[in-house]
Amino acid sequence: MSDLFTGYYAYVFVFVLMMIGVYGILVKRNLIKKMIGMTIFQLSIILFYVAAANKWGGTVPVLDARLGTPLASQYINPLPHCLMLTAIVVGVATSGVAFALIISTFRRFNTLDENELLEKMRKKDA
């Protein structure tokens, strides 16, 4: 059990972060808080990739001995970092769209509380 925490504590941390994000999305009623939960959730995945790519004593994959090391076994795989660069961009775009939708919702209903919003929508239907 202690092995889990000493060897894989980064993943435990990522998992806790992920659950905080899911909690925010599912339980919180305010749209902005939902957004924050979603961002935390996305960030936890980014940390997961970066943690998975880590290697103790590893270094950048550059052949030049002055910059890195010529030993291929010491290289840190740069692919996950590149992928996460893309994922961060996607995350920023998603947040942008989400905030635009939140602003537009607020202008129309004057509230950001999910329960109140549903209430107002139901009233309009009746």
């Binding site: 990739y49 893309t86 989400a98 929508m121």
Partner: protein, 499 residues
Amino acid sequence: MRNLILFNSPALIPILLMGSAMLLLIVAYKKPRLAYWFTELILLSTFSIAILNLFRVLREGAIHYRFGSWLPPIGIEYVLDHLSAFFMLVINGIAFWVMLHAKETVPYEVKSKETPYYSLVLLMLAGFNGIVVTGDVFNLYVFLEICSLAMYGLIACGEKKAPFSAFRYLIMGSLGATFYLLGVGFLLTATGTLNMADLKVILPQIAHTPAIWIALVLILLGLGLKMALFPLHGWLPDAYTYAPSTSSALIAPTGTKVAAYALIRFIFFIFGIDVIMKHTPLLTIIAILSALGIIIGSVMAIAQKEIKRMLAYSSVAQVGYIGLGIGLATPYGLIGAVLHVMNHAVMKGLLFLVSANFRRKLGHSNLDKLDTLTRRKMPWTSAAFAVAALSMVGVPPTVGFFSKWYLVLGTIHTGQWLFLATILFSSLLNAVYFFRVLERIYMKPYKGDSPQENDVSCDEVCPSMLVPTLVLALTVLLLGLFNMVIVNNVIKMIVPQGL
């Protein structure tokens, strides 16, 4: 020139769509009317390229395209095989006809924002086509997000409640995409590759490790959210109901289908049925959930009073058919699922176009207010609706019958009688909610005082809306009549060996 087009044909459609989505903003900056024609021109060319691609794939087999000539495990590869080419044709065909319909509805429903609207449409289609053609699992994630982001925008510009339903969709969609990304992370750390063909080789060797199962579960969960597979369908009804008519007519036939494509790709072509069946009961779970979705979606559709909302719930049920076909994991099940993707795309596109016609001419698409007067006013639209309704129920000469037929064959071959009962019972439920509308349009006499029923003359929608509606109605019949040609020549080639 011809060689250049042939050489680049797999990548041509996504790049053309994405480039023109940006170009459109400049071209139609001053004249919004130009946006429609520009979009139609681009969609016509992608439609023709998709047709040519399908014939080329049938003739030559899978086409591989390497970006920058980097060889596959390192570079990103586009693969156009039978499955991709078929899905691509369905997406671009539907997009062309539905957008032809948009000429009158978009200025009417999306006032003064036409140019960005069309740009988003092109961007979304670029995402769809990218998902379908890519051979790289991370590339698929990026395209999934491109099309989803465009989709949120397309939904949000609808009625008053649209932004909120789009926001809920965004939360669920992003959650799904992030689960997918996490699954890809597990795959990457376990195998060290992102290329689909490479994964297919490596996965069976390490299929016994828990990391692979977790990756599979996460990917299926993510794609299930995007596909609105029951019980992950919560975002769908509101999003489809409050979106502008053109958006729902475009997203309902194609949006969930690309996620279905990704599901088929992962289950049958990357992990492989053997690996999944040996280690997990996931496929049975998918089949059971889909069966539940079929029944509950149909029951919810019966409870709706508004045609668009009814169609949205019916989409949940129809996605269930596709999921059931996938979950059966037999050749007939897969054929039924892939055929149903095409059938449902045509039928649901047609039904949403009809609801758009009602909304444009009558100002509503409320079930209670329809009567024979509607039919007198709009005979062609009503006839198109009747064709689509019969097809949704599954009456023989229409397409809807044949995909259900293959699904039924799949259940009989595996002896899963409960699923057979589900399909038959759901046809009955479909009949309930579609014949209810038909009864109002064709039987229910008009009760008001004036105008007299016989005085009402034909007041059909304008040609730009009527032609796509009728073409899709005709397609429903023609695809039904010639379904053997499609199944034998295209869909049977999709079924992977060893299934």
